[in-house]
Amino acid sequence: MNNQRRSVLKSGSGAAFLGALAAAGIVKPGMALADWNKASFETKNLADTLKALGVSSPADSKDIQMTAPDIAENGAVVPIGIASTLPNVTMIAIMIEKNPSTLAANFTLPAGTEPFVQTRVKMGQTSNVYALVKSDGKFFTTSKEIKVTAGGCGG
């Protein structure tokens, strides 16, 4: 445990420095190593999440593609893929409106990384899922409703 913690400190010294900036409430997508933005992950609705991320009224965009099922067979694993044709994408975030913690993930994409991420999220119930994309310093969004169904014998 101690050894592991030491290696964290060692390898994470750069992150700690940048983390100081993040702790001040400034999120800078595009940073190489952002320390965990606790405040943004503690938000419980979309408006607060956007606020915590320093985003105001992102525009709906057809240039963001969300690949996700219409119906999830199980809420424990819901595949979400986000891609975009917008220029200079530096950040992609996934938000789940009705989850206890709205922000699921926030990706920072350095130059040279394609505007494409795929992951899997948990959903407590049927909800809108939002993709937030930062392109050329501006924020854009798209959403999709995913139905979560009950399954199995229920016992």
Binding site: I71, K144, C153
Partner: protein, 271 residues
């Protein structure tokens, strides 16, 4: 956005499906959506993580005898893992028993490593030696992925187990009068949105037997065949089958023999 529109269309379709028009359209739309969901998660089966641990465990010296399982004979000779689970259950002369993968591994763990089978039989799922077992199983069944289900039915002991397994399959009992057939004895049925293979047919048995053991998305854990059968009985509301008991092995023989010629697609990925 387009997806949203598509969804509205689906919703309209759903709304249009009244009591009079066909509910089949709705069922198909849901079934298609579920099929797409399954496709999306198929790439990246977390069983891989468990299998990697299992491979380590197979080679690790453990137990009172401080030995690995590398000399374990799963039916194709000592140490042969590739293709072994596609040919299990099997009659083993050395134990005089028909054994499935897990009971065979118990034999190896006892004889090679000195691990008491009781730690597994009386254990708890995903704890202790049963967790070890699950990892070993994940590794071994991965090594049969893509092979044909091909169990050796030439021995009379196997024939007998097949007949006993079939009887168990039809055995109705308990407060809900259920048997395996209640859910798996007719084609094209489902529970909630989960398709139910008709396990009496070759195609159905291949779809069922061929895709277990599997990673269960709902629990986030890897399930061996023993656990799969255990939970089938739990949902049937019968008494609990003893881990590795003959009834579970007989059912496995019935399923694997019926599935013969089908493709092994293990480990599976399930709801």
């Amino acid at each position: 956005m387009r997806q949203k529109k598509l969804f509205l269309l689906l919703a309209a379709l759903v709304a249009g499906v009244g009591g009079l028009s066909s509910p089949v359209a709705l069922a198909d739309a849901s079934a298609d959506a579920i099929a797409r969901y399954r496709e999306m998660i198929a790439d990246g089966n977390p069983s891989e993580l468990v299998a990697a641990q299992g491979e380590e465990l197979w080679k690790t010296k453990r137990g009172p005898k401080n030995a690995s399982l590398e000399k374990c004979d799963l039916g194709l000779g000592p140490g042969v893992v590739k293709g072994a689970s596609a040919q299990l259950p099997r009659y083993f002369k050395d134990t005089g028993r028909v054994q499935d993968l897990e009971t065979r591994l118990m034999t190896c763990m006892e004889s090679l490593q000195g691990i008491d089978p009781k730690t597994i039989v009386d254990g708890k799922w995903h704890k202790g030696e049963r967790e070890t077992m699950a990892a070993l199983v994940a590794y071994i069944v991965t090594e049969s992925n893509g092979q044909k289900i091909n169990i050796d039915m030439s021995q009379p002991q196997m024939k007998k187990m097949f007949e006993l397994g079939k009887m168990a399959f039809y055995h109705r009992s308990g407060p809900m009068d259920f048997a395996c057939t209640t859910c798996h004895g007719e084609e094209g049925k489902r529970i909630r949105l989960q398709d139910l293979p008709d396990l009496r047919t070759q195609a159905g048995a291949a779809a069922g037997w061929g895709t277990w053991p599997a990673y269960r998305v709902s629990s986030g854990t890897f399930w061996t065949m023993q656990q799969r059968l255990n939970d089938c009985y739990r949902q049937q509301r019968t008494a609990e089958p003893i881990y590795g008991s003959d009834a579970t092995i007989a059912l496995s023989v019935y399923l694997a023999a019926t599935a013969k010629g089908g493709t092994v697609l293990t480990p599976g990925l399930k709801r």
